[in-house]
Amino acid sequence: MQYLPHTKEDIKSMLEVVGVSSLDELFSSIPENCRFDGRLNLPEPMTEWELDDHMDSLAGNMAVSPDYKIFIGAGSYTHHIPMSVKYVTSRSEFVTCYTPYQPEVSQGTLQAIYEYQTMAATLMGMDVATASHYDGATALAEALLIAARKKKKKYVAISSLIHPHYREVIHTYFSPTQYEIIELPYLENGRTDLSQLESGDEFGALAIQSPNFFGCIENLKNAADIAHDQNALFIGSYTEAMAYGLLKNPGSMGADIVAGEGQSLGIAKSYGGPALGMLGSKKEFMRMLPGRLVGKTTDQDGRPGFVLTLATREQHIRREKATSNICSNNNLCALSAVAYMASLGGTGFRKLAQLNHDKAEYLKSELKKAGGKIPFESPTFNEFVVRFKNGFDKKYARLKDKKILAGLPLATFYPELENHYLMCVTETLKKEDMDMLIQEVIS
């Protein structure tokens, strides 16, 4: 076995040093009745090339582009990832190290995370950003917990146009707490209905996703004002980070905390994970942020360097008084994100975001011409909802056979939205791909 370097002689001489006669005897401290005597019922070992064959066949049993044309986003987006990003982030010095607890030999990871924190904070419009969380859903749940604890009011309010899975995670995270969650309905224009908040001041936080699950760009400024008027914190969220290459960021619209998903920033979809939980805040909430933070300092020769800092917030020091038990970050994903943002640069980021918007607008207008209805009139970024005629589900199935996935059926999440589909277009779909879909819709 290529990962087990011990020869028979090695084992023999090492056992002698330990003073036992067999490998079994090493386990003498385990009581007899605790031991498992049988053989594990697992498949027999595969050689490396047998494994390649096996995995190729499993991977072949999946639908991916370019074979399939997939018009689905909904929290996981198909963006081109430059080979250079994949290449540098797969260097084993980044991949095979532990958390940088020995900063003298971890400056590579530490500087990269400092750069990620800086660029993430810029993108969100926040003063600080953490070294990352598991994903957008858990980052948002943590953000709401910060606000709930800070304001100590009965409720937190979340938009019903936050990604349905994120809302499920929030409910799970809040289930052991005393705080209750209000879900705000949506308006005819595809934005969140905030009217019920204007009268009550019993909510400590308001969280809005923009672009929201329908792809609509929310009026964050208005939401922030309402939250602040009622002495609540305003949390901005997103599933599509690419949008902030074009849109005003949540921080500039009044968000106190921002929690979103950074998968679009150079991270493969990988059937939903790992992704990148982005979490940032204004400076005043810095010490309440859960998760890792990297800070700049100097070494004993006065040279600049980086360390993990403000560790007293964390679970291993504050123990049961910690506000979160997180003790890792999705480091490789943050590394991909910073390499991706650096590859695009400010100029490229804007250009690519604009292109995403343009392509989605093209499909939107062409689908309208082809008889689709656009039920929500608010402006969108690279996703939008279209309503097709009754019976479109049959056509949807036929399109699937032709290797086209024509959006995500929304009725699964919003039963009132029969025949509504959430469509997504990114830079990876060409005009001819969209034209093909339109032809099929018309035919």
């Binding site: 560790a311 007293t312 020091i317 504050r318 008084k321």
Partner: protein, 134 residues
Amino acid sequence: MKEINELNLPDDVRYTKDHEWAKVTGDVVKAGLDDYAQDQLSDIVFVELPEPGDTFGKGEVFATVESVKAVSECYMPVGGEIIAVNSKLEDDPGLINTRPYEDGWLVEIKPDDLTEMDDLMDKATVLKVLEGNG
């Protein structure tokens, strides 16, 4: 860490068992962390102080101090209202390490009952307790 005989424990303040010090001037009690506490914590990097106007009972937590790898709570030496906090600590929490009884004070308290000071220890008693523990 300092040896017990190296500790700076002034005679003109009184001590709690948790190593806060308290000193009465007129009808105001000034409080901070003693030399033993600051030495145990080592370099203090952050202090979370109460707001003037907050009130706490004797023995209640009124502040937390943080070093790089530890968090410690500070307990009221006497009950009462916080009338002033040491805002210098915001920028320079190391004052608790360098001048614990002077610039490194934490709060000024308007005590509810000044006789609560009588429960606190003098230098000799503190030394006895420390030696007992040592």
